[in-house]
């Protein structure tokens, strides 16, 4: 049963034209003229992009399209050469990542950053925000944070149940499989009760059996009222789960629209397969499901 916000988002998106930089009825994240150069290479050059609140937006593109770099800029892990962007109406250009996280914009990483030599439950507890015991002075006075810790642990266990990790709570995170680490990272991000969750290649390195369950979890997150933006280069996954797709190639947004509209867009097919993929003497081109990262 889709949540209200999700339903509203989907119906709102149906009126949005399929063109790069299209304005959304209720954007949670808006970016303008964002550029990032590495020496002579312009990795990101996005004129304008908007991300609808309550929707699942996929940011796709072939390897090297600048998706992850764009993601890193928006989440504060890299500094842009120019441009401005705002979240929930407030300008957040080049804001430090921990400040963004506190404001409800939380991201995960392509190479999973589970904290290996800490237990799964400690990974989860670390995610909880506003902990008194994280102040050095209060840390030595357990009575100031014990009840809060108990509440956080309960919340963490609920999330672990939901993500099928409860049995692993006391194991080291480093002993989990790749897919379980992805789940843990997602669950940990949810400890912050984010408004906007940004998933960097949530499917990378996950075995096919677990992919379906990951997709369900992503839908689930949206149903609970959290806006989801994720980077992916696997088109099949994108078609399954997203409400809106933004396609990047060579640092620019080349197309956006509903998954079906985007899949049929000649610019997208050209970007993925090369403009001359159907002519003779070219190789079979880059497989849609191959490769990692961008």
């Amino acid at each position: 049963m889709p949540g209200d916000l999700a339903m509203q988002a989907v119906s709102a998106l149906s009126t949005v034209p399929s063109e790069p930089g299209a304005a959304k009825p209720d954007p949670i994240l808006v970016t303008d003229h964002v550029t990032r150069r590495f020496g002579g290479l312009t990795a990101v050059e996005v004129d304008h992009a908007e991300f609808q609140r309550g929707a699942i937006t996929a940011l796709i593109g072939p390897n090297g399209a600048g998706k992850s770099t764009f993601f890193n800029l928006l989440s504060g892990f890299d500094k842009a050469d120019s441009g401005t962007w705002s979240y929930d109406g407030a300008v957040i250009t080049n804001t430090a990542p921990h400040r963004l996280a506190r404001r409800g914009m939380v991201r995960t990483f392509q190479l999973t950053k589970s904290l290996s030599r800490m237990t799964v439950i400690d990974n989860m507890r670390l995610g909880a925000s506003g902990q008194t015991g994280e102040l050095m002075g209060a840390a030595v006075l357990p009575f100031t944070w014990r009840s809060q810790e108990k509440k956080n642990t309960e919340k963490a266990m609920e999330l672990l149940e939901r993500f099928n990790l409860a049995a692993k709570a006391d194991d080291f995170a480093g002993s989990l499989s790749g897919g379980q680490r992805k789940l843990l990272e997602m669950a940990r991000a949810l400890m912050l009760d984010p408004q906007l969750i940004m998933l960097d290649e949530p499917m990378a390195g996950v075995n096919p059996a677990l992919k379906q369950s990951l997709l369900d979890h992503i839908r689930d997150i949206r149903e609970q009222g959290t806006t989801v933006v994720f980077v992916e280069h696997d088109m099949d996954m994108v078609r399954d789960v997203s409400d809106w797709v933004i396609v990047m190639a060579q640092g620019k947004v080349i197309s956006e629209g509903t998954p079906t509209a985007v899949m049929g867009d000649q610019r997208v097919i050209d970007a993925y397969l090369g403009a001359h993929h159907d002519q003779q003497l070219t190789s079979t081109g880059e497989s849609l499901t191959e490769g990692s990262g961008s």
Binding site: P97, R99, F172
Partner: protein, 327 residues
């Protein structure tokens, strides 16, 4: 000389003044390196701040000991800030480079600045205020079975272990708290912690300051116990012995440094005294007593290598934990 004497000597040294100094400094490293993953290769600089703080403030300037201790601790915090502000935003290796250089700069600077005693160092009764508090009755020696202490030594060693116990308790309380959890998170992956809304810069700075203060306490203790501060005592080796002790005992374990220091100093003295016994008794003829000093380090080093091969987690560590890849 017999084997009982060797054993008594080894135990006395393992819980003695030098071991206490190393142990305090290592407990600081445990917070910085063991829990937070900060590579401080210049713990000796913090120790020197403590020792020279006492030497200069008490002897050269003439303050009382307690005021000097506070001043030395403040200087230690300033040193941490000076080292941390430019480096903690950068990759971990920069702190390592800056700290090891600082340790050497401190030693060479104290050697050439007359106000700091020059190459002579500072000697004098800098611990008098402390020894005046000695509650033990006036008598030459205190005997406990085979162990024997002078009145002042007994007082120093007891206070030393009490200070250690208090700081261990503090470490334990901090590391089981959410604050300690952030430190461990930083050690594992700083970016992950930042993505969860925590300022890692602040926590790294706090860990650097706290670990440095432990080192400074070691230095204060050194100056008070030995009543003399010599620039050439503050060599980089000190820090590396501390790392040895830490890894031997088990990093990121509250009691790791204690176990490490006890074993390290016991072995060092035990090997030395045993060799002396054997050489003087004529059992070993190919060495003379002057060669024993270096030989004991070779043997202890060999022992440590074997330990790291067969028990890389240290005495108190968890093998499963250490075999996980760092990220």
């Amino acid at each position: 000389m017999d084997f009982g004497f060797v054993l008594t000597q080894s135990i006395t040294q393992a819980i003695g003044v030098t071991a206490i100094i190393y142990l305090l400094a290592t407990m600081g490293l445990n917070i910085q390196f063991g829990y937070t993953g900060l590579l401080n290769f210049g713990q000796i600089a913090f120790v020197a701040v403590g020792s020279y703080g006492i030497g200069v403030f008490v002897i050269t300037i003439g303050w009382n000991l307690w005021l000097s201790i506070i001043a030395a601790l403040l200087l230690s915090i300033i040193l941490s800030l000076v080292l941390g502000v430019p480096t903690l935003r950068l990759r971990a290796d920069y702190l390592a480079i800056v700290t090891i250089a600082t340790g050497e700069i401190m030693r060479l600077a104290t050697k050439s600045i007359d106000f700091l005693g020059g190459s002579q160092g500072i000697s004098g009764k800098m611990g008098d205020d402390f020894y005046a508090l000695n509650p033990f009755p006036q008598q030459d020696r205190f005997e406990f079975g085979p162990f024997s202490y002078t009145r002042n030594d007994l007082w120093v060693v007891i206070v030393g272990w009490v200070v250690i116990a208090v700081l261990l308790l503090l470490t334990w309380a901090l590391m089981r708290s959410p604050w300690g959890r952030i430190l461990k998170g930083i050690r594992e992956d700083e970016d992950a912690v930042r993505s969860l809304g925590k300022s890692t810069y602040l926590r790294k700075m706090q860990a650097l300051v706290l670990g440095g203060l432990f080192g400074t306490v070691a230095g204060i203790f050194w100056a008070v116990a030995k009543q003399s501060v010599q620039p050439d005592s503050f060599v980089p080796d000190f820090t590396f012995f501390c790392y040895t002790i830490l890894i031997l005992g088990g990093a990121a374990r509250v009691l790791g440094p204690v176990v490490g220091a006890l074993i390290f100093w016991f072995l060092l003295v035990f090997v030395e005294q045993t060799l002396i016994l054997l050489v003087q008794g004529g059992t070993i003829t190919f060495l003379d007593t002057t060669q024993i000093g270096p030989i004991r380090f070779i043997l202890v080093g060999l022992g440590l290598m074997l330990l790291l091969i067969f028990r890389p987690q240290g005495v108190l560590g968890d093998r499963k934990e250490i075999s996980l890849d760092a990220r």
